[in-house]
């Protein structure tokens, strides 16, 4: 693996996607996408439907031919390599288990193709089923298994061939909520056990945040922001990112004379902040009640067990806040309160700068 970048001492990434483009008719579904994925990394492509994330995955998998750009795996250009020669493990949204084969036969398929001897095949199949916790179910047919079990078989089938990269296409979207959480934990555990570089496509932000080392937020075929989940969550570059990743409150403020202002309230700004209008983002869980601050009136409150959700009206628009269900009861509907938050929990968004 020879480093290709200018600074020389950085190792080249395992997967390198550059200028990747796909058009259907006049619509550009994926637009000059550039993404590097490091060895052992878990990266999620996250975005609303139609953002091009699935098309990107299909191009990596070799099922859709790109109109431009390159996909490299360990320095080797994959763009014109057939899907069957790429050696990637893929878990499909529908699982795509072969219905006429048992779980073990499904898992064995990739080994059979690779002419692995019968005894070694049996051993590896057993190990793979063990890894996903399905050791006793090898003889079952997929139709006799639950959605979660089918999902595990699909995962075992993809992992048994020891792929350089594992591609997951909305793997948890067909499971019910509680099973989905359980599988998230499982998926993370399995990925860390095997150390397989993984690219996940999902529209579920919780899933992306729970699983990934890095999130790639996509919108209209382009990357909106890349970063660690907590970074992207706390420092969204654009309003779109702020709204797509969790709930957020956006205020129209402005910056001038080294201060940022929202109505009567003002905070000191870092030196580099240029003057002009700005969007201030504050997450609902960072807002607290205080004696002094942004005046607000409670318009609705919702009990969610562990926390309360308060909808408030303020001079700067509606505000959503979360309050842990500890201590005193939250204010009731109609009550007037003041809202406050720490300077560190405010995030400034300038669309021009982000684009």
């Amino acid at each position: 693996m020879t480093p290709e970048d200018a600074n020389g001492h950085q190792r080249s990434p395992l997967v390198r996607i550059s200028g990747l483009t796909k058009r259907y008719g006049n619509t550009t579904v994926v637009d000059r996408l550039k993404l590097d994925v490091g060895q052992g990394e878990f990266v999620s492509l996250l975005g609303p439907s139609g953002c091009g994330k699935t098309t990107t995955l299909q191009m990596i998998g070799g099922f859709v031919r790109p109109d431009g750009g390159k996909i490299e795996l360990a320095g080797r250009d994959l763009t014109s390599v057939a899907a069957s020669k790429r050696g990637l493990g893929i878990v499909f949204q529908s699982y795509a288990l072969f219905p006429h084969m048992t779980a073990a036969e499904n898992v064995a398929y990739g080994l059979e193709v690779r002419n692995v001897s019968r005894s070694e095949r049996a051993e590896q199949v057993k190990a793979a089923l063990d890894l996903v916790g399905l050791a006793p179910y090898g003889d079952r047919y997929p139709r006799a298994m639950s959605g979660g079990q089918q999902q595990r078989v699909a995962l075992a089938r993809a992992l048994v061939i020891k792929p350089r990269v594992l591609l997951l296409d909305e793997p948890l979207s067909n499971l019910d909520a509680s099973l989905r959480e359980e599988m998230q934990v499982e998926l993370r555990r399995i990925q860390q056990t095997t150390g397989t570089t993984t690219i996940l496509v999902t529209h579920d932000q919780t899933e992306a945040m729970a699983l990934s080392d890095r999130i790639v937020l996509m919108r209209s075929g382009q990357i909106e922001q890349i970063g660690a989940p907590e970074h992207v969550y706390d420092h969204p570059d654009t309003r779109f990112v702020a709204n797509f990743l969790g709930k957020t409150n956006l205020f129209q403020g402005d910056v001038g004379q080294s201060k940022m202002r929202l109505g009567n309230l003002s905070w000191a700004t870092p030196d580099a902040t240029p003057d002009g209008p700005v969007t201030i983002a504050v997450r609902p869980e960072k807002i607290a009640l205080a004696d002094d601050g942004l005046p607000a009136k409670v318009s609705a409150r919702t009990f969610q067990g562990g926390q309360w959700l308060l909808d408030l009206d303020t001079p700067h628009g509606p505000v959503l806040m979360q309050r842990q269900n500890v201590g005193a009861r939250p204010p009731t509907v109609g009550e007037r309160v003041c809202l406050t938050w720490s300077r560190d929990d405010m995030h400034l968004i300038r669309e021009e700068a982000a684009r």
Binding site: S84, K85, A96, Y109, V113
Partner: protein, 271 residues
């Protein structure tokens, strides 16, 4: 029968079934008459007409020809239809709809027109009355049936199965052999059976193109009925009905008729 059916609906269905079954049952009874003419009710049971049938070289020969013709044309039609169906279902190529319409067009042309056309064509090229000519014409006639059932069966497969196999390193041919073919086999077999029956049954077109050495069973029956009607015809019919029943039973045991004809089986509702 579920209890949700009312009296009138039950009565209607009973009458309907009687109406459809009656001629078949009557023919089977008549085949066992000892008389020299079609009679019902009859005054005894005799296998005399079945014996006569077995000793009738023309009927036995025609029966063999029909079996061979049906099997050959259904097999050729299936071999043509498998790749054609895959092309139509899986790929979007220029002229796809035109190609499909062309394959289905024999359904839209009256058999008698096809018969006259083949008669002209085969006599021009010196193939009239040959078994090869008959097979070709039957293949063309039955391709729509086989193609349709195979297309249905392929269309109900998850396209991700192909991708899954490919991602595991499987070549296109291996994927076809290990995944696509086993999963469409019931569709292919039901198409084959449907095609066989259609070919075995075909009179309107065949009567124009079969020659003295290649008279199929239905054509032989037609010719026979033209000058005499006796219980031999009933005996032939009975043999055919019993054979059809046996084939149906075997298929039901092997694959489930529901799945073959409707494309799904009651035992796996999720497919």
């Amino acid at each position: 029968m579920s209890s949700s059916n009312g009296f009138w609906s039950l009565a209607f269905h009973t009458l309907f079934v009687i109406f459809v079954m009656a001629p078949i049952v009557v023919v089977c009874f008549m085949a066992f008459t000892p008389e020299g003419y079609l009679s019902m009710p009859t005054n005894g049971v005799s296998l005399r007409w079945f014996e006569a049938l077995l000793n009738n070289k023309e009927f036995v020969g025609s029966f063999r020809i029909s079996l061979a013709l049906g099997a050959a044309s259904a097999t050729v039609a299936a071999l043509i239809s498998i790749p054609a169906a895959m092309a139509i279902v899986r790929y979007d190529f220029p002229g796809r709809t035109a190609f499909l319409t062309l394959c289905m067009s024999p359904l839209m042309v009256p058999s008698i027109v096809l018969g006259v056309a083949f008669l002209r064509f085969f006599s021009q090229i010196g193939m009239s009355g040959t078994l090869v000519g008959l097979t070709i014409s039957h293949v063309i006639l039955i391709v729509p049936y086989v193609l349709r059932t195979i297309m249905n069966s392929l269309g109900s497969l998850d396209s991700a199965l192909d991708h899954a196999a490919a991602s595991l390193g499987s070549s296109a041919w291996r994927t076809f052999r290990r995944v696509t073919l086993p999963l469409t086999l019931p569709g292919i077999l039901s198409g084959w059976v449907l095609a066989f029956i259609t070919s075995f049954d075909e009179v309107t077109m065949t009567i124009f193109i079969s020659g003295p050495g290649t008279t199929t069973l239905p054509v032989r029956l037609m010719l026979y009925i033209e000058d005499s009607i006796d219980p031999l015809v009933a005996a032939v019919s009975t043999v055919l009905i019993v054979m059809a029943l046996v084939v149906m039973l075997i298929l039901d045991r092997l694959f489930g008729l529901d799945r073959m004809l409707i494309g799904r089986s009651p035992s796996d509702p999720d497919r």
